[in-house]
Symmetry: C2
Subunit: 201 residues, 2 copies
Amino acid sequence: MANALDFYFEFSSPYGYFAATQVEDLAHEAGLAINWHPILLGPIFKVSGSAPLTEIPVKGAYALRDFARTAHLFDIPFSQPDQFPIGTVAAARAAIWARQHHPDRLPTLIKALYKGYFADGRNIGDADTVLDIAAGQGLDRQKAAAGIADEDVKNRLKEEVAQAMERGVFGSPFIIIDGEPFWGFDRFPHIRRWLQARQAA
Amino acid sequence: MANALDFYFEFSSPYGYFAATQVEDLAHEAGLAINWHPILLGPIFKVSGSAPLTEIPVKGAYALRDFARTAHLFDIPFSQPDQFPIGTVAAARAAIWARQHHPDRLPTLIKALYKGYFADGRNIGDADTVLDIAAGQGLDRQKAAAGIADEDVKNRLKEEVAQAMERGVFGSPFIIIDGEPFWGFDRFPHIRRWLQARQAA
């Protein structure tokens, strides 16, 4: 059995944010490490013919309501960003860079970026805001700036997205454990039941 | 506060089936009655530009897996129907007819139709199968046959679908309590949290 779960997330995804606040508890309960995979849904939606939730007719208004309600019901700080969705290339690259060079700070950086965007009204579509948040987490701002401009980091993000698609990832959050795929923050209870059933087997 | 919840469901929806097996417990816990609303997603998807889950690229394979896994994790008998999705006009009309003429038998009829299709391999897209199942629930087969051919029943189903769309229903299952909309079997835990928070307020 795997000793880690794969956590795929897009920084512009509210359910990805909600999941990021709780995935460590989930992994801890199950004795699993977390492989953090920042991805971009833009190129994935192009292939799957999907679109950001709030842009889908009829569903859009419900989605906005469900974001806020879910946050409230699970006690997660949340304020619907004025700019939504946003491009998250800089944020995703910063996470890729941190994963490579400061893995110990990766989870806090990811959570700080998400919270900045979804709770504190900071537009992480802007690279400077991303770097400010990284610096706020004790990372070197200049090195982070060089990191998100680095060709190797850019390529690693592209590979991350390509690999996600190969593994059938089509949304955020997306968790894979031992090849078993779970899509959505609302699958956390399913993951817990599934892990228990597996343990009992 | 409302003393009933509105439960919208399409007979070809696996998550509608799962919800139908559990909505009575949910309502009972909250001291609510259930208004059962059979609807057809076909005309709703036309407006919202949506499609049956299994026909959506990439998501389709995941959806099939999630149907079976969800059933397993929640201990609900399930076997993916060979014919899926199906037209459910006859089943929905039978439910509309029963709601009007045999309201005491409505929940068992709905659950029997769903179980017939999603657990017992019976194609409820076929009107004869619908009538067989109705008869199996103690309803008069001939009267049920006349019911699903009745103009008034047909019109009531059309109105049901039109009203559902007016209320923002775009999928199945869809539950509305005091104007608060919840889409999906996976929102049952949210409904429970929401009801508790409301009671505490």
